[in-house]
Symmetry: C2
Subunit: 454 residues, 2 copies
């Protein structure tokens, strides 16, 4: 299929062929295109054009395209199709994990309908099993399809069984070895199979040190384990160690990407999973809530500043440095919360206790605060600013940096402790609170120095 | 090896064993631990303890630990070892891509020394080849080790050759099919091999639609392709299509994670790759540069505000809303730059032209600006603020949101155009400029309304 690049010309050509109902032309143009690319193409088509193409694809490719679609686009598209078509043309052709993902997006009535149209009761049963797991857990990520062999089998028996099992599975990375109770014992690499002679048994050549996760492990845990140990597939076991499924790296890559994008979006004050290509309405809806928080915070901040009207009336120069102090508090707070959030997400927090971590954050803040307040002092001193102003700006800079650092680190640590995603603490939330408190600190120090020195 | 969790008790126990020179005890305690976990453990040890452990590991495990170490820790550790030990104990035991990564961290004199101690000239040659590629390109990510078969071979010939080739490779995901000139023709899945009869030829059963990249493709391109098409290995070809290497998913996961962490760090105003567990000095050094930019910007902003001293003298109330307007500009700017940066990184910018994207950003900004300035108007109106203040705050809010949105989207688009990483545009840089311009807009509007209405 070579490498395909979606261009405006291609889309226009395709749309013209569809308009002319040129079945052969459309089939031909789509023949060499990967389902992932067809899914991308779908975003440029309207629902009728998408349906037209769908009827020209064979079942396997049509199912693959459906899996690759954006959740929103998929729902919109499947809504237009009857339940039995969905069951036969799509769900039957998918791995159990993909099928469960697609079905889980329907409401429970529709789920029931689609499931009732699946002919093979084993397939339907597997999907129902998977639907019961939290989608952010190992159980929610795993597929039921895997190749397992028993440890007491001979290599020829093993090969025969593998051939039969392999027919139903897209990609085979590992063969899992279980005992008679189905408890996971180890793995057998395909490479090992290639290199072994026929008179051996599975128990002679399998690799017993297998890394696995429980069905309840979180998707973050799964992604950290697969990343750390460089695994392409990870077996999932139930509470008594029986093999119940396996997670493949492609699903985990999606999780990783989504996690990273979500953290990034939260740090930037964006809710939900939006892209530059989404509609104006979706983009606005993703951004307004955080701006609203910023507005509330800012209005509250204006009351704090307003309560210092007296000193601002007499010394309006104090206002000049307000944006500087606010920005400094904001920047420092984002930095320290970001470092903590990233470390929690990557599982690289080390062995330090929370107290030790705060002491460390304090030390970093102290160094930063010293450097920056000395620079600010130098600036005002050489510019010949009034002494009270020079001392206020430097003093407030120092205090605000220390406060914002420790506060920025403390909030995500606390949130993590009470099992709330610490990423919500980054971005506008921390910035806004730091802004308000920063203004309070600055003007309090200002009132003190101006009262004392003038 | 089961799943290992690093605890303080474990580290203390190990340190005690090392102190007592208890070789047997240390070997025993480390026996069941994965190299990736030993690498993590290294971070808790001093250099002498780390060396002590290193001499107790067999060569393969010692090499694996070295690969898993942080770049900084690795350099520090390898510095203490002579070049011939590095060549024989480590480089010889690694895949070519890992070996090239490790060697590339040395200065050129040391590189020369280590390479001269590698006995197999083919291995040394492969490493030298890889060292010539940019580390952020497909050539820099790929390994030379792969299994290739010729299209005109019979299955038994193919199997014999595969057995011989497989001995040198850790994991086999795909077997590549080439013609007599070494040009990549397709792949042969191990599953297909398992299912095929012996009288077939490679050309009968291979899969010709293989996705590949050129050696010069960027690491971002590689990661987007592997992610999009769900590949665990990607063949790399030279300018005339000859197969020169393959990239495996574990290396790409590292790239993805690093990219995401780097973008996140830049958006949060942190330079370089730091973690909460790094030293106070490293953390400070990663944070001060951006704070310094913020300081310069803030001081410049104080001059802008200072130039409005006249109007602030008469109407000090204007100062109350300065932090609100500054924060709003900052938040909006970060949002729009983040969306653009993420879309560029993920390759999901769609087919819109830059002009269309800016028009869209403008529409989103217009909606946001309308909602928020109406809210701000309502607040001041019901609070009975002076008309001039009410109009100034709402008017400035509207203008600043529009400006910051478009500016925030424009900067990364421009940077991307001139091939600079657009991620540097997020975070403190955009915020600082938006702060300054926001203050200018606010006080200009304030001067106008107060001059007009009072």
């Amino acid at each position: 299929m070579a490498n395909f690049e979606l261009t405006r010309e291609f889309v226009d050509k395709l749309k013209a062929l569809i308009e002319n109902q040129d079945n052969e032309g459309v089939s031909q143009i789509l023949e060499d295109i990967h389902p992932a690319d067809i899914a991308e193409l779908y975003e440029e088509l309207n629902i009728d054009e998408a349906k037209y193409i769908y009827f020209l694809l064979d079942d396997d490719r049509a199912a693959d395209v459906i899996i690759e679609l954006d959740e929103n686009d998929r729902l919109k598209f499947l809504k237009a199709l009857p339940s039995d078509v969905i069951a036969h043309r799509f769900i039957d052709k998918m791995d159990s994990d993909d099928a469960a993902d697609v079905i889980s997006e329907f409401d429970s009535e529709r789920q029931q309908e689609v499931l009732s149209h699946i002919e093979d009761v084993n397939v339907a049963g597997d999907i129902v099993d998977l639907l019961n797991y939290d989608e952010d857990s190992a159980g929610g990520l795993m597929a039921k399809e895997l190749i397992k062999v028993k440890e007491n089998w001979s290599i020829p028996t093993c090969l025969r069984s593998m051939r039969r099992q392999a027919e139903e599975i897209d990609e085979v990375y590992y063969v899992y070895v279980v005992d008679n109770n189905g408890v996971l014992k180890g793995t057998l690499s395909l490479k090992k199979m290639l290199l072994s002679s026929a008179d051996k048994h599975v128990r002679d050549i399998y690799y017993p040190d297998v890394i696995s996760v429980g069905v309840d492990a979180s998707s973050e845990e799964v992604s950290n384990i697969m990343n750390k140990y460089d695994l392409v597939a990870l077996p999932v076991v139930d509470q008594v160690g029986r093999l119940v499924g396996r997670i493949t790296i492609d699903d985990v890559m999606d999780v990783m990407r989504e996690e990273a994008e979500k953290d990034y979006a939260l740090a930037s004050g964006i809710t939900g999973d939006v892209e530059a290509s989404d509609s104006v309405w979706l983009l606005t809806r993703a951004r307004v809530p955080w701006l609203f928080i910023g507005l509330i915070g800012g209005l509250f901040g204006s009351r704090v500043v307003g309560s210092f009207e007296g000193v601002l009336d007499i010394y309006p120069q104090l206002a000049f440095f307000m944006p500087l102090i606010a920005a400094m508090g904001g920047n420092v707070g984002i930095q320290s919360s970001a470092i903590v959030v990233q470390s929690i997400a990557a599982g690289t927090t080390g062995l330090d206790s929370p107290l030790r971590r705060l002491i460390k954050e304090f030390s970093v803040a102290f160094l930063n605060a010293t450097v920056l307040s000395v620079l600010a002092f130098g600036y005002n001193y050489f510019l010949g600013s009034p002494d009270a102003l020079t001392l206020t700006v430097s003093g407030a800079m120092f205090s605000v940096i220390i406060f914002a650092s420790v506060f920025g680190a403390l909030v995500p640590l606390l949130l993590d402790k009470v099992k709330i995603d610490p990423a919500v603490a980054t971005g506008p939330f921390v910035t806004t609170i730091n802004d308000i408190i920063g203004m309070g600190i600055y003007l309090t120090i200002g009132t003190f120095f101006y009262g004392w020195l003038t």
